[in-house]
């Protein structure tokens, strides 16, 4: 092969998980100095493709070829991250791959030195200091990773890839936990590296970022290549249509009619617990018949609010009241009985017991209630009947009420949870990341049901990282940053830039705008 | 029919001192062609009855074993197989017609080793290490202490039990502790004690088996138990059809040759040996009876 600018080429990659084809005959090429954006809905197969390229997964068919030092394209052995690293591929994973008990420095060094040697932490420290100076990705290298914030961890992940002098850099949603300003810093570095010949594959759901950084865009849809665009010629609309495979129709929303307050937090403080950010003097009110958005960069205290409203925690100080009554102990069952519906943020982790059936998972919040049991014995028939109606009314795709929940796709698990909580016609709803990972059809179905619940008179708090979703649904915005909540006002008075500034902690942007 | 079929059921591995005395006697009888010998070792008390019944069903003529933890079931088995002779270690009396009992009554030679130790100790401190405080062990320790006190009223004893039958490293450590506390003679009820004595260059008193060749220059004297008189008598009784439910424990007495004193004269010196032998004579002629005390021995205060 004649020397070309091609750094990397994936040829006809196919990967199946059981019956699901996560990647179906995908090919792509990456040139020197090029930033290729990989786009697609959740579950489209982006991460899977990168995991194959990097050797975490073994493809069922197809091959990965990389340009070696002599300029020839050579085939990488499947399933060997070691080989990928040696070939100059660096990857920033979507989910952190950090050892939390080691320092940032040690995480970066890990695997770069001969195992049976004395190591060279001094030289490593110098080299990283230089990379930090050049890139502005500042982080205290000596601190243990478990004491770093998510943003800092993300920077360590990026430093890991840069440290190895990668010639191909894969970045799988690197900006998900960065503020817009931090993201901009990263882009500066990427542009400079690309100018020096580095090839970059960049994955993001944020179209703005993609448009600003990439040269070329590759769109995946349900595991297949849906199309390829040159960024200069692309616009948002075209990309979105390519991603979803059909024209995206906006949902039309009529403003709500707020009624009496039903749920309130007044001066609530909640301590840190595990990865959960503490809450500082939080006050908020939900009224019947309104949808309130809670916007914020992930990890700023959303989980604390969710824990309170889910009945998993009570305030250390301050007041949490529901229908005017103070909530004095953490007990999900009490809240459910009082008419509160809760959708968990992580539906697989907190929402369902994977090895139990769909019917069991629908009944799980009420097994002790007379509807599902008598004298401590389960009423299997009632559980079965409820499951059959729920499956039908919420279009839960599964083999039946006895199917194990773990076999359902993410979207169907979400529908199962919707069925579980909405069938009780709740008066208050906590919708935490209600459409994360859902396809567009399922998304609008969920939105429709949430709006219907509001129109019925329910008070709803929506927590989401997707600003589009919040602007679609909410009547009013709250923004959370560093454990503090500010009321940003009615949706009509807001734009994305303002909310973005508030999310980044510029709390005075409301006042400055007002003045 | 010449060859008697004998089965033994041991709750311990056959290396254990106690079982080994009878096991050896039975092997000797087998080598002489008198018996056909089978055995099971390390049988837990839970399984003991089953093993007895399995041997009984195999049609053995004499069954030897330990009924200490299984007194009732063992007697029940014997009652179910009246044609088999049972010779069982036991703290309870024999039962007619076929359940004979025995125990290792070597308190007499133990008393004699006590005399020698009492005369030889210079610090007047004797360390004693045992496994568990059970009657079998207690009575030997008491006899030993009585013997020592009979010649040396100033002698003091420290007594420790290691709560295990087979932990020689622990027995050894316990013995070291006694040496450190001033003991110059150790009473070695368990494996491990004589090792400590040998390493520290002091003397030890052996028990049940003769280990003097393993610890040259260390074993001052030993109270030996000989299984042969009892085993041979029992085999003969079975062969003669005269086996009765009697107490075979007496065959451990010195009078029957079941117990004996061995002493390393070069270590003990003539006076001590003479003193012990003199008392031995009075035991043998019945003019002196060593007391049997099964209570738990404690250190001198």
């Amino acid at each position: 092969m004649s020397p070309s600018k091609t750094l990397l080429s994936l040829e006809n990659i196919t990967k199946r998980f059981g019956a699901l084809a996560a990647n179906d005959d995908i090919s792509l090429r990456l040139d020197e100095g090029e930033v290729l954006a990989l786009l697609g809905e959740n579950g489209a197969g982006k991460t899977t493709l990168m995991n194959i390229l990097f050797g975490h997964y073994v493809q069922d068919a197809g091959s990965v070829r990389v340009k070696d030092r002599e300029g020839n394209l050579v085939t990488l052995p499947p399933g060997s991250p070691g080989a990928a690293l040696a070939a100059g591929i660096g990857m920033v994973h979507q989910h952190f791959t950090l050892a939390e008990n080691l320092s940032g420095l040690d995480n970066i060094r890990l695997g770069t030195e001969k195992l049976l040697s004395f190591g060279q932490s001094g030289r490593a420290r110098e080299k990283i200091a230089q990379i930090i100076a050049e890139s502005g990705l500042d982080v205290d290298l000596e601190r243990r990773v478990d004491s770093l914030t998510v943003g800092e961890k993300q920077r360590v992940e990026i430093l890991k890839a840069l440290y190895r002098d990668a010639r191909v850099l894969i970045l799988d949603e690197p900006t998900a936990v960065l503020t817009p300003q931090e993201a901009e810093g990263l882009f500066t570095v990427l542009r400079r590296l690309a100018a020096n010949g580095l090839g970059v594959i960049f994955i993001s759901h944020k179209l703005g970022e993609v448009l600003s950084i990439s040269n070329r865009i590759l769109v995946l849809r349900s595991g297949r290549k849906a199309g390829e665009l040159v960024t200069a010629d692309a616009d948002r609309r075209a990309i979105a249509d390519l991603m979803v495979g059909k024209a995206v129709t906006a949902i039309d929303r009529k403003p709500g009619v707020p009624g009496a307050p039903v749920l309130a937090l007044e001066g609530v403080n909640l301590g840190k617990s595990g990865a959960r950010q503490s809450l500082v003097d939080v006050s908020l009110t939900l009224r019947a018949g309104e949808i309130v958005a809670l916007a914020g960069v992930s990890g700023n205290g959303q989980s604390g609010i969710a824990a309170l409203l889910s009945g998993l925690a009570i305030p250390d100080s301050g007041l949490f009241s529901l229908f005017g009554q103070p909530v004095l102990r953490a007990d999900p069952r009490d809240l459910v009985r009082a008419g509160l519906a809760r959708m968990p943020e992580d539906r697989q982790h907190d929402g369902v017991v994977g090895t139990m059936s769909v019917a069991d998972n629908i009944a799980i919040e009420d097994v002790r209630s007379p509807g599902f049991s008598r004298f401590g014995l389960l009423d299997r028939k009632a559980m079965q009947e409820r499951a059959v109606t729920a499956i039908e009314r919420y279009d839960v795709r599964c083999s039946g009420p006895d199917a194990e929940a773990r076999l359902l796709s993410g979207g169907n698990v979400q529908k199962l949870i919707l069925a579980r909580v909405l069938e009780r016609t709740p008066k208050v709803i906590l919708a935490n990341q209600p459409t994360r990972g859902l396809d567009i059809g399922a998304q609008s179905e969920v939105h429709r049901r949430i709006l219907a619940a509001r129109d019925r008179g329910a008070a709803i708090l929506v927590i989401s990282e997707d600003l589009d979703e919040l602007f679609t649904l909410a009547d009013r915005f709250l923004v959370i940053h560093a454990g503090q909540v500010v009321d940003a006002g009615p949706t009509e008075t807001l734009d994305r830039a303002t909310v973005g500034l508030l999310m980044a902690g510029h709390m005075n942007s409301i006042e400055s705008r007002a003045s | 029919q010449d060859v008697t079929r004998v089965a033994a059921v041991w709750t311990v591995p056959v290396e254990q001192q106690w079982a080994s005395r009878l096991h050896n006697a039975l092997i000797a009888a087998e080598e002489r062609g008198e018996i056909d010998y089978v055995y099971s070792e390390n049988i837990t008390n839970t399984d003991y009855e089953r093993v007895m019944r399995e041997y009984a069903e195999q049609g053995v003529q004499l069954m030897v074993g330990e009924a200490f933890g299984v007194e009732q079931p063992a007697r029940a088995v014997a009652a179910d197989y009246p044609e088999i002779s049972f010779l069982m270690g036991s703290s309870l009396p024999p039962v007619e017609p076929n359940f004979a009992t025995f125990d290792n009554f070597i308190h007499e030679p133990s008393y004699l080793t006590g005399i020698i130790a009492g005369l030889k100790t210079e610090t007047d401190k004797i360390g004693m290490v045992g496994g568990y405080a059970i009657p079998e062990v207690n009575r030997l320790m008491h006899a030993f202490m009585a013997g020592a006190l009979s010649v040396n009223p100033d002698a003091t004893f420290s007594v420790s039990f290691i709560n295990s039958w087979y932990d020689p490293p622990k027995a050894k450590e316990t013995a070291f502790a006694m040496v450190d506390a001033g003991a110059d003679i150790l009473y070695a009820e368990r494996f491990g004690v004589s090792d400590a004595a040998k390493e520290r260059g002091i003397l030890a008193i052996g028990n049940v088996i003769d280990t003097s060749t393993d610890y040259p220059g260390t074993i001052l004297a030993s109270a030996l138990w000989h299984g042969e008189p009892m085993i041979d008598k029992a085999i003969a009784d079975v062969k003669a059809g005269s086996f009765t439910a009697s107490d075979y424990g007496i065959y451990a007495f010195m009078e029957y040759g079941g117990g004996s004193l061995v002493v390393d004269e070069s270590l003990a010196g003539p006076e001590a040996v003479a003193a012990a032998r003199a008392v031995e004579a009075t035991i043998l002629d019945g003019s002196f009876v060593v007391e049997i005390d099964d209570t738990e021995p404690t250190s001198s205060q």
Binding site: L98, S117, F118 | S158, P169, E173
Partner: protein
């Protein structure tokens, strides 16, 4: 009080404490290595038995003392390999596999001992390791006499503490082992083999455990007895938690345990039984439990402990 001074002031006491601690040092280091890599090895009690038996038998059959040590380590490594296969390759329950290994190693050792020496009536003996005096160390005041009484295997144990600490904290290999026990994905993403590291740690750790057993038959004593391990392996499992998975603290924990045992033995010997002996025997267990309860919240558990890792599976 005089009694206490007598006990703690004597070099023999400290010598005993170190001796009692030696098998525990090997065992706790072995368990620590396995757990640092994310694998609980409840096979330790059986591996102790196997090491004690195999090492001793090898010496008895003429392999020489160091030959015996090697055989013991190989026996431990073999059972470690089996545990690694079951828990790392097949991803089976570490608890159950560990208990299975303990049953298997124990019964194989007993069976082999009895089958190779069918007719012994008193346990045969070997010439065990003898105390060696290390020139400078043994001349130290007070500490010298305590160290002077130790054999080569104790020195090996102390050296192992330093070696393992060095490897864990000062080499890239140690970095990888600590990482794989915390988050296997971190190791895989840096191109290292999760399984390889874990298998290596479990096999090496198991070999160390076996040396703990070998110490008992080749240094602390000179013969093999059924049942002589007597729960020492289990103690190590508790000591690891107590030591927060750090070699230095593991050494301290083992020494503390050894000192306590030596102390209670001496107290019994010197002042007789004031309370039932079992109280003393219970104390180390109760103290371990107490220590576990106290350190549990702060304990720096290897986060991936007990979690199997399968390549290409979502975790």
């Amino acid at each position: 009080m005089d009694v206490l001074l007598d006990i703690f002031g004597s070099a023999n006491f400290w010598a005993a404490a170190i001796r009692i601690a030696t098998p525990l040092i090997f065992g706790v280091l072995g368990a620590l290595l396995c757990e640092r890599a994310g694998v609980l090895n409840l096979g330790i009690e059986g591996i102790f038995v196997a090491g004690a038996m195999a090492g001793w038998l090898a010496v008895y059959l003429g392999a020489g003392l160091w030959g015996g040590v090697l055989v013991a380590a190989l026996a431990g490594a073999t059972f470690g390999l089996l545990h690694a296969f079951l828990t790392i390759i097949l991803g089976l329950s570490q608890h159950v596999s560990g208990i299975g290994i303990t049953l298997l190693a124990t019964s194989i050792s007993y069976f082999t001992y009895r089958t190779s020496l069918p007719s012994v009536t008193s346990p045969p003996r070997i010439a065990p390791f003898q105390p060696i005096a290390i020139p400078v160390l043994s001349d130290l005041p007070f500490l010298g006499p305590a160290l002077f009484q130790q054999t080569a295997l104790t020195w090996l144990a102390l050296f192992m503490v330093a070696l393992i600490a060095f490897v864990l904290y000062r080499t890239p290999l140690g970095l990888a082992i600590r990482a794989v026990g915390d988050n296997p994905a971190s190791v895989e993403a840096q191109g290292l083999s999760v399984r390889g590291l874990r298998i290596g740690a479990v096999v090496t750790g198991s070999a160390l455990m076996a040396l703990g057993g070998a110490f008992l038959t080749m240094s602390a004593f000179d013969a093999f007895f059924f049942g002589m391990i007597n729960g020492r392996g289990w103690i190590c499992i508790a000591l690891v938690v107590f030591a927060s998975w750090q070699p230095g603290k593991a050494l301290l924990g083992a020494l503390f345990f050894g000192a306590f045992d030596a102390f209670q033995i001496r107290l019994q010997a010197e002042i007789g039984q004031v309370v039932p002996g079992q109280i003393f025997l219970m104390l180390p267990y109760l103290l371990s439990i107490l220590a576990l309860v106290l350190v549990a919240r702060k304990a720096d558990y290897p986060r991936a402990l007990l979690q199997p890792w399968t390549k290409g599976q979502r975790h």
